[in-house]
Amino acid sequence: MSQPLQPWGGPPGATPHADAMTASDEMVQLLTPEGRRVEHPDFAFTGDDAEIAGLLREMVLARRLDLEGTSLQRQGELGLWPPLLGQEAAQIGSGRAVRDADMVFPTYREHGVAMLRGVPVGDMLALFRGTSMGDWDIDEHRFGQYQIIIGAQTLHATGYAMALQRDGLIGNPEPDRNAAVLVYHGDGASSQGDVNESYVFAASFQAPVVFFCMNNQWAISEPSTRQSRIPLYQRAWGYGFPGVRVDGNDVLAVKAVTDWAMERARQGQGPAFIEAFTYRMGAHTTSDDPTKYRLSEETEAWRRKDPIERVKTYLLDAGAIDDGWLSDLDAEADALGEHIRSTCRQLDSESLAHRFDVLFREPTAESEDDRDAHLSYLARFEPLSEESAR
């Protein structure tokens, strides 16, 4: 049997260990579900326990944000909510590998990453409340809008990365002058033409973009095996860039692998692909009923791999945190919850008339006439409603 090439071809890059890794079917794990730290030949988490405690804090807050979203939807305050439950490590670990100058393109589920990027909670909720279309300041937070069209953002991310290249922001000797793009997509999304085209463009132009495939095992009711019969991280091999599978419920491993991929991209070594092997513990969205298509045994088995519990166990065992620390965190989460709920209830929409004003940057006579016609139509009802108010 002939010896296979490096799957992505070409000479060994500057990070031979990590590249070699991608040829293995093994999943990178640095913290077991039991809370034990383990070594990996290619990847290491280099932070201290204080940093790990920071990650725990952010995961707990992300989970709280998510639970509030779900309950606000139940209460009719939101129209819809796509829960992140179970994906806290994958989100926080990857989100923490992103620097200020980097850019992030999310799906519609990366609430934890949004939080890390400083997106105001109200801006995020507004989308699901129907009071806006998710109009946080993309440039300020370097965090793209949520994307509903499955996979479309992967092309935007790749183009943004091509712009970074043109701006001279990769491969500089001063690491701080470099930047890269992190883009999320799901296991289901891996089947979309756009997503595969983004791999083509990223590879062709060696764009500084990291594809973070959130393999939460399901695309609504379809298991990831409907999309691919082989592990998804191997998809990258066919396009000529490294693909790594990481335990998506292990925040240390996710952070380490994403750090590696982002730094590689910033240095000008091109795209990389990370498959975070995780699980969507909740429903697809609050409109979904997962009991229709998956067994509770499966969910139960994954519950034992909870991304938060293992970190808690590790830190408690290591003596890095104690019950007091945890109850302070609870209190912080409660405060966040309170903030979320009150923010949400105050969110209101601008009027439809405003939509005409933002149709174009340079409004047309047509859009202005349309707005005026709309307003004067509405105006005709005003005396009437004043009357009926009497």
């Binding site: 129209g79 819809l80 989308l127 699901f128 409340r129 129907g130 009071t131 806006s132 279309m133 509903i148 069209i149 499955i150 289901g188 999304a189 089947s191 979309q192 033409g193 756009d194 695309a219 609504i220 009711s221 379809e222 409907r226 999309q227 409109s287 979904d288 229709k292 298509y293 209101d348 929409s349 601008e350 009027s351 439809l352 939509r355 005409f356 149709l359 047509e366 859009s367 349309d370 709309h374 139509y377 509405l378 005709r380 009802f381």
Partner: protein
């Protein structure tokens, strides 16, 4: 005869289509165990098997393109696009392949397939879930485009669409999925491409389809209280348009208002207005007026009620029409 929701009627119609012809297949995202996000295909995979009710990978162009291939070999794929806004990744396969095939092959081959699309707004959804894509398809030669407004039509039209030897875009007004109505199982339905006079009237004709038919009937009911007699026509078929029924009505009423959720510019109303103008120039007492969604991307749900035509806007247009 029985009373059921449009969702159930579609389910029953699809079941009959699957029963009637072993070549009929259902193909789409989440249509198997889940029964589709609107449960239109509920129970069908259980009864007809995974080879006939097929969960597809998440790729609309792939779904339409592979269905095309299956149809070339005699199958009759009935595709479910999960929401209106997700049909565009498959647009090329629809307009460049499906629409042209019979013509390209000089009539030798055809791809009888149905693309079901839940469409329209009014359900408080997030963006891309309330689109009205019909005009893109009506504008495309080689496609037939139909839409149901009530359970009985849903039940029959889906079967007629599946039986059609030409490709059919089948639009389902999602905000009417849960409205109940009578389904007459026994009697033969009217032809698929025929419009229907939902309510007779003499002062003006309201022309609508899909979700807006109900709204127009409500408007006509209110108008009646004010002494105005409005005829309401449900187009049912958007391509071809049944101009015979339309002109017959407008010849009598001499005034027409077209109503749809889709934007005004080059919405179906534009074509209806242009044709009525051409055909009934001397007869019309007033121009065809259009009550439509605004020329905007579909807005966030909190303001969608200002975007969508409603009874007031329809009656306002009727007033204007009568004032000419």
């Amino acid at each position: 005869m029985s009373t059921m929701t449009m969702a159930k009627a579609l389910n029953a119609g699809l079941r009959r289509a699957l029963d009637a012809n072993p070549k009929v297949l259902l193909f789409g995202e989440d249509i198997g165990k889940l029964g589709g996000v609107f449960r239109i295909t509920e129970g069908l995979q259980k009864d007809f098997g995974e080879e006939r009710v097929i969960d597809a990978p998440l790729a609309e162009s792939g779904i339409i393109g592979t269905s095309f291939g299956m149809a070339m070999r005699g199958y009759r794929p009935v595709i479910e696009i999960q929401f209106d806004g997700f049909v565009y990744p498959g647009f090329d396969q629809i307009v460049s392949q499906v629409a042209k095939f019979h013509n390209r092959t000089n009539g030798r081959s055809s791809v009888p397939m149905v693309v079901r699309i839940p469409y329209g707004g009014g359900i408080g959804a997030i963006e891309h879930h309330s689109e009205s894509p019909e005009a893109y398809f009506v504008h495309t030669a080689g496609l037939k485009v139909v839409t149901c407004s009530n359970p009985n039509d849903a039940y029959w039209m889906i079967q007629q669409a599946v039986a059609s030897d030409d490709p059919v875009i089948f639009l389902e007004p999602k905000r009417r999925y849960h409205d109940k109505g009578e389904v007459v199982h026994e009697s033969k339905p009217i032809a698929l491409h025929q419009a229907r006079i939902v309510r007779g009237g003499t002062d003006a004709t309201l022309i609508a389809y899909g979700p807006m038919v109900k709204t127009c009937v409500e408007a006509a009911t209110i108008a009646e209280e004010e002494g105005r007699s409005l005829e309401v026509i449900d187009l049912r078929s958007l391509s071809p348009i049944d101009m015979v029924t339309l002109t017959h009505s407008v010849r009598r009423t001499r005034r027409a208002v077209v109503v749809h959720e889709d934007v005004r510019t080059l919405g179906v109303g534009a074509e209806v207005a242009a044709r009525l103008g051409e055909e009934l120039f001397y007869l019309m007492e007033s121009p065809v007026l259009r009550v439509t969604g605004h020329d905007l991307p579909y807005p966030n749900s909190r303001v969608e009620s200002d975007f969508l035509p409603d009874v007031d806007r329809i009656l306002d247009a009727v007033d204007r029409s009568l004032a000419y």
